[in-house]
Amino acid sequence: METTGTVTHRKRSQLSMIWFRFRKNKLAMLGLIIFLMMILMAVYVSIFGDYERAITMDMPNKLQTPSAAHPFGTDQFGRDILMRMMFGARISLSVGLLTMVLSLVVGSLIGAAAGYYGGRVDNLLMRIMDVFLAIPSTLLAISIVAALGQGMFNLLLATAISQIPAFARVVRSAILTVKGQDYIEAARACGTRGGRVILRHILPNAMGPIIVQATLNIARTILGISSLSFVGLGISPPTPEWGSMLSEGKTMMRYYPHLILIPGAAIALAVMSLNLIGDGLRDALDPRLKN
């Protein structure tokens, strides 16, 4: 084909342009690869072994250092640390993603309404968000978990509620920047209703910062879940979760540091990969922001 680069270049859709810029960012790609591998690991972990292996106690084999049978050793109950780490990815990633979706939907609705309608609605909604922001987020999550009781769903709810204000603010400011543009006025002049203008015309054009916020939000949630589990308010044992693995390993870390190093590294890797993706997306979505 004789088509020159410039022609195909011009025909690129916005999405492929973003992907093109994202791909050139080595750190962001590294983050994406790590994150995809973690997702694959979480989905297909059962190939390597049963869930039973991650939760059944095996006292004769407790506190083993890494070996062929147990690549990362075993904990004080004889459970394989690698298996626990991999099954832990399921919980962290699924709660992280679900929390993101939940707080994204609710936060976006609140932020969109506030930004689009402005005036009194804006004032009321954002002041309520300010109140939530003024409560330390760990503390808010702790009170909600303490109130509703422990469990996966309550943990999800607690982390989601404390993340809503952040989304509401981002969406609101994204909408404020788009709102004044001519095509929005055109859509309104055609008699389009408020809700449809927001969903069809404003939100797609304000997607950039929202996606970035969503990525960083998953990272923050993973940190949040592990923190709550660490103080005993999140996922309760024997379910494998990175934070509770850290808290169980705490007493033994003097002689068996691998008990805390493995789950700690898992948290750091997951959070870092998401932060890298988020930063890469920010640059790819808005090249002007890049120094």
């Binding site: 300010d130 109140v131 939530f132 940190l223």
Partner: protein, 310 residues
């Protein structure tokens, strides 16, 4: 200026009322009976019912909320369900510890984070820049309590030069402060670097360079002064956040601070303690933000004219 401060203090009132309402609602609409908590598991039901009546727990939610607010305004925040002592006794007892850890943590983070951030902006793309960016990236990804455990492992268990838990001497504060510093330092490095990079590109910096100002003078007088505003905001926000007590770090180092106090109270449904602690933290955070805004006027005289106008 005074008028501005007064206005800001007035604006704190609705926020604090809102927080009070939310926490009060969470604590009231959830299972668990404070009367049962005070009297113990074996108390006869009649006694529990009588105490419920005495504490006014059977009244409608709004009645209880209004009563709480009117008592609180008069300075009566109630007594702890657990030990019957006024709630603020223990809060004031524990706050200095939390304050020390937070203050030294932030101090370390500022004194290490800011210079690194400035250096990596001035020498962008150099090896120093790469190392500090990667370092900040790693530190942001690690939860503070995990860093705390690593510090204990290295300094207390392997090298044996610093104590791991407790608060009896200044040595005990070193590791927790470092743990607090680790996460905030990463934020400070990133923030300082990006705002400095923005400022360095400004025209007035080129002018300063053109007129022959020395390099340190350009960096500190022309760039840093102008980049300081967002940095101070972040420092203030982080400090306020740490003053709420970092629950996880207090758990790692067995520090009897505000954070662990609140977690215990929440788990035991000790409503008066939870309420008072959260209101206290919110007020401290609000005052902290106000302090930062006042500090702005000293950093940037333009801000001052805005305040005095408003």
């Amino acid at each position: 200026m005074l008028r501005y401060i007064f206005k800001r203090l007035l604006m704190m009132i609705p926020v604090i009322l809102g927080i009070t309402f939310i926490i009060f609602a969470i604590m009231s609409f959830t299972p668990g009976d404070p009367a049962r908590l005070i009297l113990g598991e074996d108390a006869p039901p009649e006694d529990v019912a009588e105490l419920r009546n005495e504490l006014g727990l059977d009244d409608p939610f709004l009645v209880r909320f209004v009563r709480y607010i009117s008592d609180a305004v008069q300075g009566d925040f109630g007594t702890s369900y657990r030990n019957q002592k006024p709630v603020f006794d223990e809060i004031f007892d524990r706050f200095p510890t939390t304050f020390k850890v937070a203050f030294f943590g932030i101090l370390i983070a500022v004194f290490i984070g800011l210079p690194i951030g400035i250096l990596s902006a001035v020498k962008q793309y150099s090896i120093i820049d790469t190392i500090s960016t990667v370092g900040a990236m790693l530190l942001t990804a690690m939860p503070g309590f995990f860093v705390g455990m690593l510090l204990i492992l290295l300094f207390a268990l392997k090298l044996n030069i610093l104590p791991a838990t407790g608060i009896s001497s200044w040595k005990h504060f070193v590791l927790p402060s470092l743990a607090v510093a680790s996460v905030t330092m990463a934020t400070f490095i990133r923030m300082t670097r990006s705002t400095m990079l923005e400022v360095i590109r400004q025209d007035y910096v080129r002018t300063a360079r053109a007129k022959g100002a020395s390099k340190p003078r350009i960096v500190f007088r022309h760039c840093l002064r102008n980049a300081l505003l967002p940095i101070v905001t972040v420092i203030g926000m982080n400090f306020a956040h740490q003053l709420g007590g970092t629950v996880m770090i207090e758990a790692v180092f067995a520090i009897p601070g505000l954070g662990s106090h609140m977690v215990t109270a929440v788990r035991q449904k000790d409503t008066p303690v939870v309420m008072a602690s959260i209101i206290f933290v919110a007020i401290v955070a609000g005052l902290m933000n106000l302090l930062v805004d006042i500090l702005y006027t000293y950093i940037d005289p333009r801000v001052k004219t805005q305040y005095t106008k408003g």
